[in-house]
């Protein structure tokens, strides 16, 4: 379980990105965070794996503090948390397989990974991760030669190769077109259901949030302003989270039926 206890983040410039957040995320949940850009969604997600350090309060994962972890403990914690990014964050100049093997950094150790002499079992795990997202045929292709949707799948495979307990996805579909967005979201949903991995996704399209989220939390100016099931999150709720009336830009549209935007 992930537990936030009065967690706050103040950036050096004085921006209060997270304000006294207290939140529990039980194992195996698919949770979607919605809110306008600058509301603190990315900060919340990055606080879980310590990429953004808290300035007060704490985050614990199964009782272990992220804030007070020593550097090697933090790497241990991170190795069990996969992360997916808006801009994929792949190393474009190397192969897909090498990118996915980055998910094996922790278990293969420094010397092996630096020399590129991964154990056969690590390579096997990476290959299986690619199979799960359906692009194992691209294993030896340069990452730069893939389309955006394929690159994001490599990102997911890299996270899966960590054999994680938790997956964090920071705006995973914001750089993708609508059909590809749904494909990637379905991948994440499937992984959450089949492997029971706690999945936390930042989204700003409310229809995607409602379709794929089991639980939705809303953020505004660093504060938690909504916490409930996807079913209960209607238009009024989103209007409240966004602090304004909804527009056509707030929905992605396409395959699923979604509420009309006002």
């Amino acid at each position: 379980m992930i537990h936030f206890e009065n967690a706050s983040v103040v950036y050096p410039g004085g921006v209060h990105a997270l304000k006294n957040l207290t939140l529990d995320i039980p194992d195996g949940q698919m949770m979607v965070i919605v809110g306008l850009s600058g509301a603190g969604k990315s900060t919340l997600v990055r606080a879980i794996n310590g990429l953004v350090p808290l300035t007060s309060g704490d985050v614990t994962i199964d009782g272990v503090s992220v804030r007070h972890a020593k550097p090697h403990q933090l790497r241990e914690i991170r190795s069990r948390i996969g992360m997916i990014f808006q801009t994929f964050n792949l190393v474009k100049r190397t192969t897909v397989l090498n990118n996915v093997l980055m998910g094996r950094f922790h278990s293969s150790g420094t010397l092996r990974s630096v020399l590129g002499l991964y154990r056969p079992e690590d390579t096997e795990i990476a290959m299986q991760a690619l199979e799960r997202v359906g692009i194992v045929d691209k294993a030896y292709v340069r990452a730069s030669n893939l389309s955006g949707g394929q690159q994001q799948r490599v990102g997911i495979a890299r996270a899966l190769a960590q054999q994680p307990k938790i997956i964090l996805a920071d705006e995973p579909v914001a750089s993708l077109d609508p059909p590809t967005s749904h494909m990637v979201m379905r991948d994440l949903q499937r992984i959450n259901r089949e492997l029971g991995i706690t999945t936390i996704v930042n989204l700003h399209f409310l229809d995607l949030a409602r379709v794929y989220g089991e639980r939705i939390i809303g953020m505004r100016a660093g504060e938690l302003v909504y916490d409930g099931t996807a079913a209960k999150a209607d238009e009024n709720v989103f209007r409240d989270i966004y602090g304004r009336s909804l527009t056509a830009d707030d929905v992605l549209g396409e395959p699923t039926t979604s509420a009309a935007a006002t």
Partner: protein
């Protein structure tokens, strides 16, 4: 936060025009003029250059008739120059790789190591290669070893400066993803940073090799081995027809390296 599009906010006043650019241009003109003036500068006079051009007519004439019979004698020193350049480039560029990562804000373990490495590199580069050659000739004697040592320091200085600045500008995304997966500093350097800067590294190394071939000629003048020593001997005895052969040879050689590096770079990028 509420963005009601009814009343748009007032237009901002036009910012004052920056004075930095005009002042910079004026300063540039003033400095150039001062450097050229006879009073405080070098007193460069274009007419003087033209009128003196004829004085070197005899030298030009000999230059234009290279003594090709001299060519075989240049083979060994030329080979030595290339060998010096190769050894110094390979060693220098290899050593420059770890130094570059230590001297970049992105990959250096902490601020102290970053500042220290940048500082050392500045000192290494501040000393001209000819001075290194003089020092090493005094320390280890006349010959190729002194030359290799001088070129080695020169190579590290140039490569590490260029590469560390390239590392500074690398895409941070792959670094963040490696950190998020629990990767350590070495793993991040190897898999997130190195692939991004590898083409540049190869290009810089080839460039440094080119520089080394040229520099080894110059440091040969002070006794650090290679074709430079022969060039100096021929020059001292006013045998410009022989100097001409060496110059043509060097020109062709550097040109060939340039072609080779273009070809290699295109294959790698």
């Amino acid at each position: 936060m509420s963005a009601t599009a009814a009343a748009s906010p007032a237009r901002p006043p036009r910012p004052r025009r920056s004075v930095t650019v005009p002042i910079g241009i004026l300063a540039f003109i003033a400095i150039t003029w001062a450097a050229l003036s006879a009073e405080i500068g070098i007193g460069l006079d274009v007419l003087e250059i033209l009128s003196d051009l004829g004085n070197g007519a005899r030298i030009w004439a000999e230059f234009l008739e290279p003594n090709w019979a001299f060519l075989p004698q240049t083979a060994r020193p030329m080979l030595e120059t290339v060998q010096m350049a190769i050894v110094a480039s390979v060693l220098g560029c290899s050593l420059a790789l770890p130094v570059s990562f230590l001297a970049s804000r992105v990959t250096s373990p902490n601020v102290v190591s970053f500042v220290a490495n940048r500082g050392i590199l500045s000192v290494v580069r501040a000393i001209p290669d000819l001075l290194y050659a003089l020092v090493f000739v005094a320390a280890v004697g006349i010959g190729a070893l002194a030359g290799v040592l001088a070129l080695l320091l020169f190579s590290i200085g140039v490569t590490a400066k260029l590469l560390s600045e390239t590392v500074d500008g690398v895409d941070a995304g792959p670094i963040e993803s490696a950190r998020a997966s629990g990767g350590g500093r070495l793993q991040i350097v190897r898999w997130s940073v190195l692939p991004q800067v590898l083409p540049n590294y190869v290009a810089y190394s080839l460039y440094v090799f080119e520089l080394n071939v040229r520099a080894s000629t110059v440091i040969g003048l002070v006794g650090a081995g290679g074709i430079g020593r022969l060039l100096n001997t021929e020059r001292v005895y006013f045998r410009y027809e022989n100097v001409s052969v060496i110059v043509i040879e060097l020109f062709l050689f550097v040109f060939l390296i340039e072609l080779g590096s273009i070809w290699l770079r295109r294959r790698l990028v």
